[in-house]
């Protein structure tokens, strides 16, 4: 069985590396992008089941990038989860309005993130089934 593909969009290289390491250890096929342009380039040949997206990105931010990705027919089955440092109420709503399927607050908890990711993926499978 091929590992489930996941894309991490995070401009902080170490955090992206950490998340990649963590999810890689959980058996996912993980790629990382530091900004929107890199993410779009990767998505030309890589169709992830889930994208973990930082909201604060240089240039095109996470909100805008997600709005664009949600228009891509090829990504119709991809779950996009916001990764945000804003532990603010209201962001939940804003992220959902932008098209995010959910959100996870930073700093990520290495002990719970794998569970949350698998829950989102399970949700996606049951929705497409």
């Amino acid at each position: 069985m091929t590992p489930t593909p996941i894309l991490i969009v995070d401009d902080n290289a170490l955090n992206a590396k950490l998340t990649k390491l963590l999810l890689g250890k959980c058996g996912y096929d993980v790629k990382t992008a530091a900004h929107a342009r890199e993410a779009l380039a990767i998505l030309q040949h890589f169709t992830p089941a889930l994208i973990l997206m930082d909201l604060q990105l240089p240039g095109i931010d996470g909100f805008e990038l997600t709005r664009r990705l949600k228009l891509e027919p090829a990504l119709a089955g991809t779950v996009i989860v916001a990764l945000t440092a804003y532990a603010m109420k209201g962001d939940e709503q804003r992220a959902i309005e932008a098209g995010f399927d959910g959100y996870v607050t930073k700093p990520i908890d290495t002990r719970t993130l794998p569970t949350v990711v698998s829950e989102y993926l399970a949700k996606r499978r049951s929705a497409s089934a």
Partner: protein
Amino acid sequence: MKVRREARLVADRFGGFLDAAPDAMVVVNADGRVLAANRHARALFAYEGDELVGQRIEALVPTRFRDRHVRYREDYARNPHTRPMGAGLDLHGLRKDGTEFPLEISLSPVETDAGRLTIAAIRDSSARRKNEAKFRGLLEAAPDAMIVASRDGRIRLVNGQTERLFGYRRDELLEQPIEILVPSRFAAQHPNHREAYARDPHVRPMGAGLQLYGRRKDGSEFPVEISLSPLETEEGLLITSAVRDITDRKRLEENIRRQNQELAAQNRRVEEASRMKSEFLANMSHELRTPLNSIIGFAEMMHDGMLGPIAADHREYLGDILTSARHLLHLINDVLDLSKVESGTMEFFPEPVDLAALIGSVRDMVRPLASAKRIQIHTEVDSALTQVVIDAAKLTQVISNYLSNALKFTGDDGTVHIRARPDAAGRFRIEVEDNGVGIRPEDVRRLFVEFQQLDAGDAKSFQGTGLGLALTRRLVEAQGGEVGVSSRFGEGSLFYAVLPSVARDASAPSYGHAAARRAVLSPEPRIMVVDDDVAALKLLDTLLQQRGFRPDGFEDPEAALRAAAQAPPDLLILDPLMPGLSAMTFLKRFRAISAATHAPVIIWTVRDMTPIERTELLSVAQDIVINREGGASALLDCVRRHLMSEAPAEGPQ
């Protein structure tokens, strides 16, 4: 002889008329001899009987004016017509006793059989003079320049202030058009304004809202304030203008305006600086937290053995890295929170909170530390205090600060009590009591102050930020509460916080004013309740009716959808655990009913939900209320809040 005959003739012809006249009247012949003097004239000049008849009229004129009078009389005889005598001159009469008095005379020629006679009507003007003098006195006493002008704009009277203000002498102003005091660019329009005022004269400021200017003799201008008042006189309507130079006041106003501007600019700079500081701190803490994210993350993964087996001592050191990193994270968060509370940018999100559950979760957080020191934690929540409305995260912070302090300063096998009970009306009290080291009385007042850590004495050095209690105090005070401590050194401490049971929230409609909010609700909002539990339906039905709503309960979701299509409700309460139809499917179909597109939906459930479930439901519903103990009032609050925000903007027509 001629005079006697003429006098008789006059007495015959005019006697009755003369004596009936209200004024003193004297009839004089062409030679200037008195032919008749009526009762008032005799009284005025203090003559009796016929004493005056036959005398020259100059007998009534003070000696110094007599020669002149003769000349005037001869001039008049050559060109006789009815007119006031000696216009503009001071006329005086001479009594028989030699005293003088001011008078006014009006002359009329009369042709008779005896030739042309002159009738003089004479009025004692001393009373008027006195009034005029009084009036002038008043004018002089006035602080403003006073100018009395006739309806046609001629200056009749001015006071000394006018001379000083405009730089003209009095005689340069009298009988001049008032426009000479008006800047030339306004002078042309001035007569129109003057005429308009004369048509509707009443006391009022001139040119309300306009900047008025006066013009001095030297042509310079100055700002003025003018108030006008009509003056009805025998000569007809006069208009009095009180003119005030407001140069100083203008300068003062200008100064104040400039000072205000500077203050406002300064304020903006201070606000800007404060905003920049808060922004900087927010950004900074984000920047500080980002690397901690990877420090903690990598350490955690290694510590947990996710990256392969590690030696026991390495595991211990990784634990130390984690402890330090988490402590640093805590510090950063505290500094950020403190700066937020300080700058007033801390936001509070009150929500119905189950205190017992919240305290339980804080207890769980510190359990590892408590069990390491074998400290017993006892919790007592007063049953009268089932639910409060407060920012749960901030309350958690407050209790956990107290609790971790208590654990830090309590020795092994100690005891810590957490108590929650109602306080004064509308407030509740949280207490955390320990039997630890206690605090010296002299140290107590330093406790809640930033960056003040007490010397821990024998009890080793305690790791702390020195911010915890200060932040606790600020968080509590920002919510309208207070903090305090009582302690006996060596025996233990009791820290408390008193908070409003129902928090005020500026961003959402306030709680606790149901009556006020009800007033703006549409009459009997229709609320659809969908729940397969008949008992729950019945309970909600009763509760909602009591609050003036019109509930419509449905066990069967399909029936509810049909009813909504018929008459869409103002709000929907939905229990998502329905057999046969998922909540999402139901809500999608409900939203598809065009009139129900915008009706608020509240999810009402007995079950905690995963973040995914919440996220999904919140994409179609507005709120989720968990049905715990006391949850009904939370639901009712939620209902009111949504009906309020959904109420159409109906202003008075």
